[in-house]
Symmetry: C2
């Protein structure tokens, strides 16, 4: 067993093109010995956003604090603390903080496929 | 994309032998189209516990509210809101609520292997 407390990890700015006001902490991943998937915590300042992009893997998200707009195939959807969001592989998506408070979400992704 | 709010789901009692005072809500799983892993939310009353057991798959846990004792190979460890816990495949483990408040945690598991 490994225990990782959010407060032990420094937030790292998300620098992908199109991202703003967003940091990530990798809570559990391959370095901790996770066999299949990784758990990350994202924090979005008011006005912050993740990139509008798509990729071959899913996201399983849980909103911890605040509110977020999720842009996906069905257009922007408002979600707030206590909501889970499944973004499918290949689905174009973005998370935006349109509120006045910091928003935090967990995002779980599978490890990259081995070539 | 699918959005599932915790408040829409009725908590189901965990009835495995050894469990007490614990409910589960399956937020994201195969029925929602999740390709690889499932996200569940567990709620443990004060005095509640999950079974002391082991299985061939990992747990990736995030404590949302309250405090929990995690019993695993290194003995009981206290964790509270904001802690992530990785339980390895084959590791004997149990989550207990030794506090006075309800504790809630997310627990992500891989889908069962196809035979």
């Amino acid at each position: 067993m490994k225990v990782i407390d959010v407060s032990e990890l420094a937030p790292q700015p998300v620098t992908d093109e199109g991202a703003k006001g967003t940091t990530v902490r990798w809570l559990i991943g391959k370095p901790e010995g996770a066999p299949n998937f990784a758990m990350r915590l994202f924090e979005l300042e008011p006005g912050g956003a993740t990139p509008l992009h798509e990729h071959a893997w899913e996201h399983e998200v849980f909103v911890l604090d605040g509110s977020l707009q999720v842009v996906a195939e069905q257009g922007p959807v408002e979600v707030s603390a206590g909501a889970a969001v499944l973004v499918m592989p290949g689905e174009r998506h973005q998370f935006r903080n349109a509120g006045n408070a910091v928003a935090r979400m967990l995002c779980v992704i599978p490890h990259p496929a081995q070539g």
